[in-house]
Amino acid sequence: MKNTAVKILGLALMAAAAASVGWTADPARIVVMNPQGIKPEIRKIPMAARPASLDGKTVYIVDTKYPNTKPFVEELHAALKAKYPATTWVLKDKIGGYMDDDPNLWKEVKAKAAGAIVLVGH
């Protein structure tokens, strides 16, 4: 008798708990775990302030050297020179392959240029 009372009390408590969370009240619904990992926070990077004009300034065109894209890079360089002659357009190859970093070039750009155009394949 005592056991039966305990069982009834237990069932009542379980039902109350289920109703309170609302999740398991419907036996057809189940709860599963999230399969995804943890994504990092995204720290916003302020963009560099733009000059009012590029006249009299230097802009680097950085070729990351994706295979067989040199004709495009050279045509872009020529077209910018022709359209905006008051700006000095400097064509520079990044060292290594297209996925290699070139910290020295980035330092040079920062020291000498008012802006940079960076070309990536394909």
């Binding site: 599963v32 994504k39 990092p40 720290r43 916003k44 004709p71 394909h122």
Partner: protein, 454 residues
């Protein structure tokens, strides 16, 4: 860089670039797009592209570039801070199993096939197979170097192991694989594949198949462990979203299972070390070894030549993206034939192959521009090789370490140190029903202890 910049990207990658610039913290990056592709296009066509419009914005390309470098910033563009990102919950909202399965497919949590829904009970059962704590960090993984890395715990790996249909006893092997932090779905337009070879006592303990059909879908452990790597890569490593975190133009069917199989150590000829012993582990260690490549061919071929000569000939003419590396998966009876033909170790056979294979002329000249220039100027030995014609074999191996250095696209998974002198790996598996073997452009990436995760 700290100076105004405008990236120029081909139009096909707008989705990729938009999401990456957001994740890098520059959501309003001033990008100019060109028609796609620009590689291998003649100067005249490139001139038209440059004189034309950005195909995405419809604005003249040159004017847009100039404006991108000189137009004043908005107040928001100049601000620091954090960008919004959805919070992760440990549990998903409840629903019926059918709707949850659809939700998993819609969210890209699956490989397109049904999964076992990861209830807390099933995950708890999986976690019993390791001494590690559920909240312990396992590692980080990213789709490719420009992408962000995601992080994951033992429990998160267990969720994916349940989904893949793994038994709890497979879990330490899966954790070892996850701990390597190498995605199985590397994001490159070239549709990479991966391979995982299991060695040591764990192979028998969990019932992996080293015999007939070892590389096929006939064994639960081989299948579930390999499949789980791709679920982990997608869900814990952020890989596999077409256009954003996966760019393989045609995709690669090997990604379904990642060529997961154990080495048939009992079938190794006397003197041939198991793969994990070659990589510095003890024979009694249980180990997973990861490879990276693109393709694997089953070579069913009879020849009056000794089999090691057939393999040498195949390697000489084999061509795919990974032209400077190869992995041979030999059936035990092929390995026995090779050993009987004077190759007492895997290493000596690999060395023989590397030293006795040349390179087809058309391939050699397409990869060695300077040598071609020298040949055309009459400089020997190049000129003599070129006179033989593009169909002739140039006596330069592409499988020595010096030949493959810096040219091997498998660098895209960072490698463990590798003491071998060639870029040829040899693994033995299979049931000995015929003298067949497999070969492909896979290179060794690294190994990890399973025992560390028990």
């Amino acid at each position: 860089m700290g100076v105004p910049a405008v990236p120029i990207i081909t139009a096909r990658f707008k989705e990729l670039v938009t999401t990456i610039s957001y994740k890098k913290g520059i959501p309003n990056m001033r990008i100019t797009y060109t028609p796609h592709p620009i590689t291998d296009r003649p100067a005249e066509l490139c001139r038209q592209y440059v004189a034309g419009n950005d195909p995405n914005s419809g604005q003249p390309m040159l004017g847009q570039i100039y404006a991108g470098l000189s137009r004043p910033l908005s107040a928001e563009d100049g601000k620091a801070g954090f960008l919004p990102r959805e919070a992760r919950t440990r549990l998903l909202p409840p629903d019926t199993p059918e709707k949850l399965m659809e939700y998993f497919h819609e969210q890209g949590f699956t490989d397109g096939n049904p999964v076992i829904l990861p209830t807390e009970e099933k995950v708890a059962e999986m976690l019993k197979a390791t001494s590690r704590q559920p909240d312990e960090w396992v590692g980080q993984m990213r789709p490719s170097p420009p992408h962000e890395a995601w992080y994951y715990t033992v429990e998160m790996v267990a969720v994916n192991a349940v989904m893949a249909g793994a038994k709890p006893e497979y879990f330490p092997t899966i954790l070892a694989l996850a701990g390597k932090g190498v995605t199985s779905m590397f994001s490159s337009t070239s549709s990479f594949a991966r391979m995982v070879v299991v060695n040591g006592p764990v192979v028998d303990e969990i019932g992996m198949n080293t015999g007939i059909g070892a590389m096929g879908p006939v064994n639960r452990a081989n299948s579930a462990i390999g499949r789980c790597w791709t679920l982990i890569s997608k869900n814990l490593g952020g890989s596999g979203k077409p256009g954003e975190t996966y760019l393989g133009s045609q995709g690669n069917p090997l990604n379904y299972n990642n060529l997961c199989f154990p080495e048939n150590e009992a079938g190794l000829p006397a003197g041939w070390k198991p793969l994990h012993v070659q990589k510095g582990f003890k024979k009694s260690d249980s180990v997973v070894s990861v490879f990276s490549g693109w393709s694997m061919s089953d070579i069913a071929w009879y020849s009056p030549l000794p089999i090691h000569e057939v393999i040498r000939g195949w390697l000489e003419h084999f061509f795919s993206f990974g032209t400077t590396q190869a992995t041979l998966v030999l059936d035990p009876i092929v390995a026995a034939d090779v050993a009987a033909n004077g190759h007492p170790t895997k290493e000596s056979f690999a060395k023989y192959l590397a030293e006795n294979t040349g390179t087809p002329g058309w391939l050699y000249w397409s990869q060695n521009e300077r040598a071609l220039e020298q040949a055309k100027k009459g400089v020997e030995p190049y000129a003599g090789w070129l006179r033989q014609g593009e169909g002739a074999v140039v006596p330069v191996s592409r499988y020595t370490r010096s030949a493959s250095a810096g040219r091997n696209p498998a660098f895209m998974a960072s490698r463990d140190s590798n003491e071998t002198s060639t870029s040829i790996e040899i693994v033995v598996t299979g049931g000995g029903t015929n003298t067949f073997w497999s070969g492909g452009d896979f290179g060794y990436v690294g190994s990890a202890s399973v025992d560390d995760w028990r």
